[in-house]
Amino acid sequence: MAIPVVYNLRSVRQRWTSAVVAVLGIAGTVGVFVAMLSLAHGFKATLVSSGSPDNAMVRRAGSTSEMDSSVSLDQIKILEDAPGVARGANGPLVTAETVVIAPFPLRSTGTDANVQIRGVSEKSLEVRRQVKMVQGRFFHPGVAELIVGHNAVNTYSGLTMGSRVNFGGGTWTVVGVFDAGGSAFDSEVWCDARVLNQIYHRPENIFQSVTVHLTSADALKEFKDALVSNPQLTVDVSREVEYYDKQSRTLTTLITTLGGIVAAIMGIGAIFGALNTMYSAVAERSREIATLRALGFGSGSVVFSFTIEALVISFIGGALGCIAVLPLNGLTTGAMNWQTFSHLAFAFKITPPLLLGGIIFALVMGVLGGIFPAIRAARQPVAPALRGL
């Protein structure tokens, strides 16, 4: 026979200060846990959404990122004709790009951070389908004009529409703002690749990477095989999504590792807090427990009853923690991408699975914090407890 749950609920309400303490302890832990994971998640999501499954990225063989890659115009002309390359009204959907970083002052602190400047071709918008102009227009080829990702506009000062910007030894005008669907490109500044090469004293016909829009996601194999078997090309081909996935790995690992350690330590602390609360509860209510058992409720019922009580407290704590961090969702922050040394704005991304994970974490803490006191409650000898000793 089970002890009526209403007994537990009313007991919790009567000793509400202790219950509040346990609830807040668990809420704090779950909050930090969810916040850290959503930070890592948001960062990863930003980078991953930068790639499309039906785009391929071509870089010099052996390069680890765009930064240390180089692809010549000759090579580009060869791969334009490879099988699997989609074609648009203006020819093969291929864009050759160069990436540099330049310092710009952050709006938040006034100090400089490195912005990723991407020299692109006119076909970029066709290759990168998720990018759309939302203000102004695309730059005119051959002119020192910039289009800016909408996160970059908000993160750095001096990048608004119509501003004149000095970097690289040249003066540029911002002629448009684009929205890249929450990907890394939203933190970038784009311009004409040839103009960039000129201003940065780079060889005219050498670019760092080529992004190709494929006819379909499955066409990757065909495309890759054709390039790899061609003796005139020494290139690496990867799906764009995988490239960005690898890029995010360093910082994601860092955040997840450090955040994981923090959450683990806090979790232990929360369990201690829960244990303390529950043991005190058992001690203060030993006469009631003894009465219940004298009335005929078995040890199993007592254990079950107290465990339920612990679960209720931890569930409330977990829910509270999740609710407390929800406002963070979508909040943008910035960090440096260790692999490109450029500043990247990304948002906390709280998803339902993450929240569920938080609640489960809370319940686990509750069970661990409740089961031992519950067993002690069930084992206390009845008679002395009734006498109030």
């Binding site: 200060t17 202790s18 509040v20 303490v21 807040l24 302890g25 704090g28 832990t29 909050g31 930090v32 052996g62 390069s63 680890t64 930064m67 240390d68 890659s69 180089s70 540099v100 970083i101 330049a102 310092p103 938040s108 602190t109 100090t111 400089d112 951070a113 490195n114 970097f167 690289g168 030894g169 940065y200 004293h201 060889p203 360093t250 690992t253 860092l254 590792t257 450090l258 350690i261 923090v262 330590i265 806090m266 232990i268 602390g269 929360a270 201690f272 807090g273 244990l275 303390n276 609360t277 043991y279 005190s280 001690a283 203060e284 922050t333 910035g334 960090a335 440096m336 040394f341 500043h343």
Partner: protein, 380 residues
């Protein structure tokens, strides 16, 4: 003190509860220690940055090079005591995840610029004589099990091929916060192997000034000299450079402070509640103590002291655990340049623990002080 027996006996009243409360303090302070380690890892470099050193980079972008020819000009400027240069190599050793910084350095001027890095004269001289030589920091050498005399192959990234180096020496930092992860090799070798169009370029200069107070003026002089040239410079004190780098990581300090605050607030609640419960249980005894002739003030201090002892033991233990954690090494495998717990942080942590101990014990202690014997012993 003769009342010590009474206090300790009270502490051990319920061993489990004592353990849990000490455990709560230990956990909170362990977290505090860990956060201090992370903070130091990110910003430790700023604190120990050379007060008399400047960093000169290409103004357009840190990844752009500067001409070697600037070296002579800068070294002749008034206020400049010394100058050296380096290039970022960014190679891969065995696996992309085995990150450590690699620099091609100017052997004739490098060692004097960084006196905090120590190695024997013999090792350094062998390195100077060996064009394919290299010096590694103690942390990196330990991480990969390198010994002097080993041959280290590093795969170039933006420069092709596998470069092989002879490990001629291992340097040690002289302070806890010094970066022992660097890998130095000869710029002459670098210059020899780069394609022609990239020759004659260096990554950045480090300049030593005669007088640290003169830093800003010298920095401005350098930048003014090369303004409007194809390679404009941006010069900063080493400290400002390091600080700017840290700021780019994002608002780490704010994050750490927030977490720390949440943790300590929770700790305060838990221990405060536990102390309150513990004192409530002893109402009768405390009343009898007062009846016998123990003063109200005595009872106040008794309760407060118990709280402080728990805080001290738990907090001290937690900080030691955090210190122990640092001895296990960097969990991110080299992403953090230093990974240690500074003594100053440990002291701060201990004081914070004591403050929490006082705060959580004060209310129950005052309650015990104010306890009226007649009320406490009133029969139900």
């Amino acid at each position: 003190m003769k009342f010590g027996g009474l206090m300790f006996a009270n502490l051990f009243r319920k061993k489990l509860r004592l353990t849990l409360t000490i455990g709560s303090f230990a956990v909170a302070l362990m977290l505090f220690g860990f956060l201090a380690v992370v903070k130091t890892a990110f910003s430790g470099g700023v604190e120990i940055a050379g007060a008399d050193r400047l960093v000169v980079i290409n103004r357009v972008s840190i990844i752009q090079p500067l001409p070697l020819s600037y070296m002579d000009k800068i070294s002749r400027m008034p206020g400049v005591k010394g100058i050296t240069h380096a290039n970022w190599f960014g190679g891969v050793y065995q696996d992309e995840r085995n990150f450590f910084p690699q620099f091609a350095v100017d052997v004739s001027t490098w060692r004097q610029m960084y006196p905090e890095f120590k190695l024997s004269d013999e090792e350094w001289n062998n390195f100077v004589k060996d064009r394919q030589g290299a010096i590694a920091g103690a942390a990196t050498a330990k991480r990969f099990g390198w010994k002097v005399g080993d041959r280290i192959p590093i795969k170039g990234t933006f420069l092709p091929g596998v470069w092989e180096f002879n490990l001629d020496g291992i340097y040690h930092g002289s302070r806890q916060a010094d970066d022992e992860s660097q890998f130095w090799f000869q710029w002459d070798l670098f210059e020899e192997k780069v394609p022609d169009r990239l020759k004659g370029n260096i990554g950045w200069y480090t300049v030593r000034v005669d007088n640290p107070d003169d830093s800003l003026r010298v920095a401005r002089t350098i930048d003014a000299e090369f303004a409007n040239s194809p390679y404009e410079t941006h010069t900063d004190t080493e400290k400002a450079f390091a600080a700017g780098w840290v700021k780019q990581f994002g608002n780490i300090e704010f994050l750490i402070l927030t977490i720390g605050a949440v943790v300590f607030f929770t700790l305060l609640l838990v221990t405060g509640n536990t102390m309150a419960i513990a004192v409530r249980e002893r109402t009768g005894e405390l009343a009898v103590l007062k009846a016998i002739g123990y003063s109200d003030r005595f009872v106040l201090f008794l309760v407060l002291l118990e709280s402080l002892v728990i805080a001290l033991i738990g907090g001290g233990f937690g900080l030691l655990c955090a210190k122990g954690l640092t001895l296990l090494g960097d969990p991110t495998h080299g992403m953090l340049p230093v990974f240690y717990l500074p003594t100053k942080a440990m002291l701060t942590g201990l004081i914070a623990a004591l403050l929490v101990g006082i705060a959580s014990g004060i209310l129950p202690a005052v309650g015990a002080m104010r306890l009226r014997v007649v009320n406490a012993l009133r029969r139900v």
